[in-house]
């Protein structure tokens, strides 16, 4: 029995080491000035300094790529959350064929690999003669983010007392007031987790952005890295950026996890 436990722990730790080796690798080599990955020319914070000064002056392409990434993620997530929440309320009140259809349509962006989503939207914008740039990328991101919002809000709707909306109407609220004052507060946890999920998916996306950004030179972090890697060199400042992002995500996930276990204890 003890052996089983030891073996299990060893297996897990081995996997974790392999999983994190590249990430640790990047982090370690972010503290050196060498241009190419894997070269150690002595401890230095220079790359970090470059990164932040670049950010201050808005000067480098990398920094603008990061800004675009954040902007697009924010815009897409906000719209996705609103659109998805309203949709979830509507779907929750549907039955039978209508509900099946909506659920099926909602699932499609989640099932499709991102290259299909990217190519199909590319063809759409070409067909509609919409020039590709910020707008098309944001629309594309809304497309693959909203289903996840719906998926997060629907369970909260089933946990909610079914008469709460009607009670608000009964007491004199118009549908819009009832939505704002009663439904949104009740659904807030689902909306928040949907928002966070959307934001993360948007940050991480590559293929969809790749096909819908057009030729105006719009770059997100992912497309920047792609272009950069193809050129052969790797912008050294990417290393500190990745390290910082990794730490941020780690902290956010741990915080969410702690909030979840606190809620579980409360119940």
């Amino acid at each position: 029995m003890k052996a089983k436990k030891v073996f299990a722990r060893a297996y897990i730790w081995l996997l974790l080491v392999v999983l994190y080796a590249p990430i640790v690798f990047i982090a370690v080599f972010s503290f050196t000035e060498a241009k190419s990955l894997g070269n150690w020319t002595g401890f230095s914070m220079q790359l970090y300094r470059n990164l932040f000064s670049g950010a201050m002056q808005n000067s480098s392409a990398l920094v603008s790529a990061v800004q675009n990434t954040l902007l697009i993620a924010l815009a897409a997530s906000i719209v996705a959350t609103l659109l998805g929440t309203l949709a979830a309320i509507g779907i929750f009140n549907m039955k039978g064929k209508k509900r099946q259809t909506m659920t099926f349509l909602n699932n499609i962006p989640m099932i499709n690999p991102d290259i299909i989503t990217g190519v199909s939207l590319f063809l759409l914008f070409v067909f509609l003669h919409i020039s590709q740039g910020y707008l098309t990328v944001i629309l594309a991101h809304i497309t693959f983010c909203t289903p996840y919002v719906v998926l997060n809000v629907l369970p909260k709707l089933s946990q909610m007392n079914p008469n709460v909306y009607e009670a608000a109407l009964d007491l004199g609220a118009t549908p819009a007031q009832a939505l704002r004052k009663v439904l949104f507060p009740a659904l807030r946890p689902g909306m928040i987790s949907g928002f966070i999920l959307s934001f993360t998916m948007s940050l991480d996306d590559f293929a969809v952005t790749f096909f819908t950004r057009g030729t105006i030179g719009l770059d997100t972090l992912s497309t920047y890295i792609y272009a950069d890697a193809r050129k052969g060199g790797l912008t050294p400042e990417l290393k500190p950026l990745m390290t910082i992002l990794f730490l941020l995500v780690l902290v956010v996930l741990l915080v969410i996890n702690m909030r979840q276990s606190k809620n579980n204890v409360k119940e």
Partner: protein, 251 residues
Amino acid sequence: MNKRTGWALPYFIFLVLFVVLPLLLIVVYALQDGSGHFTLANLGKFFTDRDSLSTFALSIEVAIENTVLCILIGYPAAYILADKNLNRSAVTVVLFILPMWINALMRTLATAELFTMAGIQLGKGTLLFGMCYDYLPFMIYPIYNQLNKMDKSYAEAAQDLGATPREVFRKVTLPLSMPGVWSGVMMVFMPTVSTFAISEFLTNNKIKLFGTIIQENINNSMWNYGAALSLVMLIIIAITTMLQKEEPDES
């Protein structure tokens, strides 16, 4: 009866416009030639062109190998994580999920660089390793969830009826965890077939996968052929989805 169903209307319109219509356009473009006439030539080209077919076959092969590899490595990991006797740390679980949130391209680049540093030639072996590395969390997470949600009393009932731990696993735990495995397969198989950037990095462009040729065609304005290739992929998705309908799950 409920006027609230109308609130889903904006989203419905959005879905029709941005999901249904684009997919239809793929079909339309795939079946047209450059001047808008109906033709099966694009699809024909795919089925007759040796390069396309071999790339396609290779992609499917790699996807299957990757999926199997992920299951072989990932299932034990998920099992250990979900077993309260072997793991009580929620943080460990988080650590496995974390890589999903790091930019995939960056992780892949770092992996490729590590290989080069270690002197390992970039090729099929590194491709498979890199793919598995990238997609492993996506296999572990659904299986872990499924095992976690599973009612412990099934295993206890089996033991009560005389099953050894090995038999409990084979006859009870494994079958009941299948929905999670299916979920993982869905999250690994199709994306593997359709990746393009990752295979470029991990093989120094030596090996091309299906996603890559789609991307190349679209970029070179060969929209019709690119759409045709995408259509092939859509058909595969439809097939795998229908297979999955017999194993419904709630991820």
